[in-house]
Amino acid sequence: MTVYLKQFFLLITLAFVTSMATQAQTVTTIKFDQLQELRQAPHDTLYVVNFWATWCKPCIKEMPYFEAAHAKYKDQPVRVILVSMDAVQDKEKRVLPFVQKRNLQSRLYLLDEPDGNTWIDRIEPKWSGAIPATMFFNNKRGQYEFIEREISQQELEELITKYKP
């Protein structure tokens, strides 16, 4: 009896720990200055920054690739960051439920800058403003690549393999 009870508690504890570990990330609201800070991160790390929104179909299609890359390179100097372009007013109603439902594990930001014209050129003059768009950079090594379109899983994997320290 006590053995069963012990096993039961062990199971419960395990389930709890597992649920903690896979809990979806929170979404941090940022302004442009914080995005710029991230873009200028001096570390010898490959940053993969994907710009998306809950209303953007091609973004949602490619999101599992970024999530898979996050899981695969978790213990390496590779940071996958998803920056939502959703309006800050939609954070509670749309973004958080989306993040919970998909159980997203990558680091999540929401950029609260409604006027793209004030910041798009400052982060990437080549960017016309369409999403999805993805940036790859390692400032320590002076590496940078920008893609303004949907990306395939293979392409993402190739770029990470190419640049990861």
Binding site: A87, P114, N117, I120, G129, A130
Partner: protein
């Protein structure tokens, strides 16, 4: 002497190839820049008739707007497009809205769906379909909505005067402070140069036909 010339020509050819190759990526995604001459088109409107800029004898220019049924940003701007047209068509700058999206990639951007949406919103401007995406590529539109204000010249050509967005807040029209497109149009109507001819906004990618 003669022998020396061959390597030189060979090098020159290599150099030329190199220059051409370097130029390819730049021309690939280039469309019109402000100051360029925009081509006319002949595209099917939701009423079944073909529309060209040349049809409008009295127009001073156009607000050529790449937009669609499905992009939430396009939808958010529908009422503002109607207002823009109603304000500037009498001043010589009507809107021509062009749907650039491929129907296979985005089924709800079909011609039939365009007809439904145009009727629901009672668009006072043509809403035409760029089925081959030829015009969209020529203009270099990349997102929806994406505006090109063109001004008719004395020789009848259309010069691009403004490329960009409508205003500074897609989500909340009541919080708009900068009406970028209107500012450009006001300057054109007043015979002035456009002081901010390029603006950017977040939008949906154009749904290109898959090869």
């Amino acid at each position: 002497m003669k022998n020396n010339r061959i390597p030189f020509l060979y090098m020159a050819c290599l150099l030329l190839v190199g220059v051409l190759m370097a130029a390819i990526p730049a021309t690939e995604n280039s469309g019109y820049q402000v100051g360029d001459t925009a081509r006319d088109f002949k595209l099917k409107n939701v009423d079944g008739k073909m529309v060209s800029m040349a049809d409008y004898k009295d127009a001073k220019g156009f607000i050529v707007t790449f937009t669609c049924n499905t992009c939430p940003y396009s939808v958010a701007y529908e009422d503002r497009l109607i207002e823009l047209h109603n304000k500037y068509a009498p001043k010589g700058y009507p809107i021509i809205a062009i749907n650039p999206n491929d129907v296979k990639v985005s089924p709800k951007d079909s011609y039939k769906h365009m007809q439904v949406r145009a009727k629901e919103k009672n668009f006072p401007f043509p809403y035409v379909y760029d089925e081959t995406q030829e015009i969209t590529k020529a203009y270099g539109a990349t997102r929806t909505p994406h505006l090109y204000v063109v001004q008719k010249q004395k020789d009848g050509k259309f010069k691009v005067a403004y490329i960009g967005t409508i205003d500074d807040n897609s989500r909340e029209p009541e919080k708009v402070q900068k009406k970028y497109a209107e500012a450009a149009l006001d300057e054109l109507v007043a015979g002035k140069a456009v002081s901010q001819p390029n603006t950017k906004a977040i939008g949906c990618t154009i749904k290109w036909r898959e090869a």
